[in-house]
C-alpha cells in the first residue's frame, strides 16, 4: 500500500497543509503532561492527515513513508514549531503499546495516546529500587481477569493528570529478579491509586509518589507475557533515550539566558585571572560535549557506530555541576541569597541543587560509569550476588 511520492512533493504537501491548518495561538496552555481541547483537536487533525505516524501503514493512520521521508515531515513541523508529527518515532507510550500490546490494547489505547485523549505517566522507580530498578517490590497478582496491584512508586511526573501509568510490577517471586517482572498499563483514576506530590530539594514539586493499594488492572492491559516485563521495559527505556534530552530544567530566572562570560562581566570578575582560568575550563566542558555530539552525529551518518553517544549524560552531569559551582564562585556573598529579587543568585543556587537531577536521576553517574565501562569499553561485569537467586531470597533495604 506504499504510495510513492518524491521528497520535494512531500515537503510541499506538508508545508501547504501546515499553512492551511496550523494556528499556533490556539494551542497555548497545554503542558507536557496534560492536554487542552484545542491541542486534542489539533493532534486529531495531524493524525488524520497522516503526519502523526507517517512511517506506519494506513490502518494505523500512517502513510508507510520510508525513514528519510518521515524525517522530512518532522522537519517541516519543527520548522514552524508545530507539535504532533512523527510520533511513530517520538511517542514513547504509543510505540511501547504497538510493540508489545495485544490487539485489544492497541485498539483501546494507541489513537487516544496520539491525540492526547489519554494522558500517561511512568511507574518504574520505587523507594527501594532506584539504581537497581530490577529490584522492584510492587506486587501484581492475577485474580480472575484482573491483576490486583500493591506497592509504591516514586519520581513519577504527570501522575496527577495521567489516565494510565506504564507500570512494572513483580508477578513471580520465585523467579530471579529480572525474570519475575511484568509490564502493565495501570488505570490511574481509581480509588486504589493515590498520588502525592513530592517536594524536591529545590523546593518545587515536579514529581509524585504513587501509593497503590489493591488497585485493579485488567489482564488485557499487560504488555508482553507474564514475567517478560523486563524486556518490555528495556524497549521502552531505549525509546525514551532515543528521543529525550536529559530533561534537566534550566534556571528559574532570566539569568538563564545570560552567558557565563556575561555573568562574569556583570559580577565584575571578568578581569580576575583566577576566575578567568576557571571560566575557560567550565566553558570548555560544554563546548567539548557539543563537539563530541556533533562528531557522534557525523559518525552515525557515515554508518560508523559511535560510543560517544553513551557519554552525554555523564558529561552533562559534570557540565551542570561545574557551571553551578562557577556561578556561585562568581557571586561570592551574593550567592547567600535566593528568591526572585535576587535572580542571579537564585539561579546559581537552584542550578547547584538541580544538577543532581542529572547526576542521580535516570541512573546515577556511578551507574552510568558502569554502563560505559561494560557496554562501551567491554570491561567485565562485577559479580552479581542477586542475579540468579529466587527474588524472595534477595536482600532488601
Amino acid at each position: 500500500m506504499t504510495t510513492e511520492i518524491s521528497d520535494d512533493a512531500l515537503r510541499a504537501e506538508v508545508r501547504a497543509w501546515l499553512k492551511a491548518n496550523y494556528r499556533p495561538e490556539e494551542l497555548r496552555g497545554a503542558t507536557l503532561w496534560s492536554s487542552t481541547p484545542e491541542t486534542r483537536a489539533w493532534l486529531t487533525k495531524v493524525l488524520e492527515a497522516g503526519w502523526a505516524t507517517p512511517r506506519w501503514p494506513a490502518e494505523w493512520w500512517g502513510r508507510s513513508l520510508p525513514e528519510h521521508q518521515a524525517r522530512i515531515v518532522e522537519r517541516e513541523f519543527a520548522a514552524v514549531k508545530a507539535p504532533g508529527a512523527g510520533q511513530d518515532r517520538g511517542n514513547l507510550y504509543a510505540n511501547t503499546a504497538m510493540a508489545y500490546g495485544n490487539d485489544a490494547l492497541k485498539a483501546h489505547f494507541v489513537r487516544g495516546i496520539l491525540t492526547g485523549e489519554i494522558n500517561m505517566c511512568l511507574l518504574y522507580s520505587e523507594p527501594g529500587a532506584g539504581s537497581d530498578l530490577a529490584g522492584i517490590r510492587t506486587r501484581a497478582e492475577l485474580k480472575g481477569d484482573n491483576y490486583i496491584v500493591n506497592g509504591q512508586k516514586v519520581w513519577t511526573s504527570g501522575a496527577m493528570t495521567a489516565d494510565y501509568g506504564m507500570l512494572i510490577a513483580r508477578t513471580d517471586w520465585d523467579a530471579p529478579k529480572h525474570g519475575g517482572i511484568s509490564f502493565f498499563f495501570l488505570p490511574m483514576k481509581q480509588p486504589g491509586v493515590e498520588v502525592r506530590p513530592l517536594r524536591q530539594v529545590t523546593d518545587e514539586s515536579h514529581f509524585n509518589e504513587v501509593f497503590i493499594t489493591d488497585a485493579v488492572c485488567p489482564v488485557d492491559n499487560r504488555l508482553g507475557a507474564e514475567g517478560a516485563g523486563w524486556r518490555v521495559l528495556q524497549t521502552a527505556l531505549a525509546y525514551e533515550r532515543s528521543v529525550m534530552g536529559d530533561g534537566a530544567r534550566g534556571p528559574r530566572n532570566a539569568s538563564a539566558k545570560v552567558s557565563l562570560i556575561d555573568l562574569a562581566r556583570d559580577a565584575g570578575k571578568l578581569n580576575d585571572p583566577v576566575l578567568r582560568q576557571d571560566l575557560a575550563r567550565v566553558i570548555a566542558y560544554r563546548r567539548l560535549n557539543d563537539l563530541n555530539n556533533a562528531r557522534a552525529k557525523a559518525d552515525l551518518k557515515e554508518g560508523t557506530s559511535s560510543p560517544i553517544m553513551s557519554l552525554g549524560k555523564l558529561a552533562m552531569s559534570r557540565i551542570l555541576h561545574e557551571e553551578a559551582r562557577l556561578r556561585t564562585s562568581m557571586l561570592g556573598a551574593a550567592s547567600l541569597l535566593e528568591g526572585k529579587d535576587f535572580p542571579v543568585s537564585d539561579d546559581a543556587n537552584f542550578l547547584s541543587l538541580n544538577a543532581y537531577f542529572t547526576s542521580i536521576g535516570g541512573g546515577t553517574d556511578q551507574i552510568q560509569r558502569n554502563i560505559i565501562g561494560e557496554r562501551v569499553l567491554g570491561l567485565p561485569k562485577e559479580p552479581e550476588v542477586d542475579r540468579d537467586v529466587p527474588f524472595r531470597e534477595v536482600r532488601a533495604g
Partner: protein, 372 residues
Amino acid sequence: MSQTTTEERNAIQASVRSLMEDRNTEADVRRVMETAEGHDPAVWQQLVELGLTGLVIAPEFGGAGLGPVELELVMEETGAALLASPLLSSSVLAAGLLTAAGDAAVNKRLLSAIAAGKTIATVAMTGDAGTWTADGVAVSARADGDKWLLDGRANYVTHAQLADVLLVLARTPAGIRIFEVAAKAAGVTISPLPTFDRTLRLARIDFAGVAAMPVGTAGWPAAEAALQLVLVALAGEQAGGARRMFEKTVDYAKTRIQFGRAIGSFQAIKHMAADLLIEVESATSAARAAATALDAAGEGSNEPADAAIHLAAFACADAYTTVTATAVQMHGGIAFTWEHSAHLYLRRARAQAQLFGAPAYHRERFLTALGA
C-alpha cells in the same frame, strides 16, 4: 593557654550535644527555620543557662571567660545539629569585637547583657561588596558637634533582624571606627534578606543620618580580632556539620541495599567515603589547630595565629562543601527530596563558605601569613 582540662572540655562538649539531641532535632530545625525569627527563644534560654552566650566573655562581665579552644568544641556540636541561632552573631562576633575594642563602660553594659542573653547584638561590617575587609566597609560616620551620624549601607549582616544592638564599622576621616546603634534607632532600615540556607538570617541595613555612639578607639584591628574569633567558631561549625553528614552517609551506605548488597560494599561508594573521611578529619584538625593557635596568640605567643586561622577557614569551608555535595550523590534519589536532611547540610555548607570571606580570599590571607 586554655585553662580547662581535657575532661572539662569533654564535659562542655557533651552538655551541648545533649542539649542539641533534646531540643534541636532535625524536626526542630525544620520548624524553626520556617519562622520569621529563625531561632527558638526557649533553646536560647537553654544556651544562656549552659553559659554559652557568655562562653568567651570575661568573668568580670558575667561570662565564663573561656577561649577559642572551648568555643570551637561547642560549635562543632551546634554545627552538627544545624542549630539556627544568633549565638555566632551575638556571643562570638559582637562579643569578640567589644572585647577587642576594650571600651570599659560599653563592655560593662553590653557584654554583660550579651552574656546574660538579654541583648542580642550583631556586627555590620561589609557593604554590597560582601568582602568582610576594610575595603568593604560602606558606612560612613561624620561628626556633628559632639554627636556622630552614620550614613550608608551595610549588607549581609547576620541576624540583624533579631538584634537589639548593632555594632557598625564605619569610615571616619581618621579611619574606620566602631559605633553602637540601637536596632530601632531612627534612620535605621533593616531589610531581611531571603537566604538559600534557611537556618541563617541575613539583613541589609540602610543608615540615613543615624545618631551613633563610638565604641573605644580601636577600629579595623578590633574587627580583625573579632573575625579571627568568628572564623575559628565557624570552622568548628563546619567541621562538626561535615562530620555529622558524613556519619549519616556512611550509615546509609551500610543499610541501603541495591543489587542484593549494601551500597557501601561497592567501590564507587566505598572509595568516595574514604576520600571524604580525609576531608572530615582534616577539617576537624584544622579547626582545632586554629583554636589552639588563637588561644596561644591571646596569651602572647610569638606565633601569629593568622596562618592557622585562614587555613582552617578555607579547608573547613571546602571540606564541608565537598562532603555535603558528595553525600547527596552517595544517597541518590532520596537526597533529592526536601524531606531528607542532606540538603539542609548542603545549603548550610554553601552559606558558611561565603560568610566572613570566601575560600579564595582565605587562601590569599594564608599565603600572606606564611610570608608569601
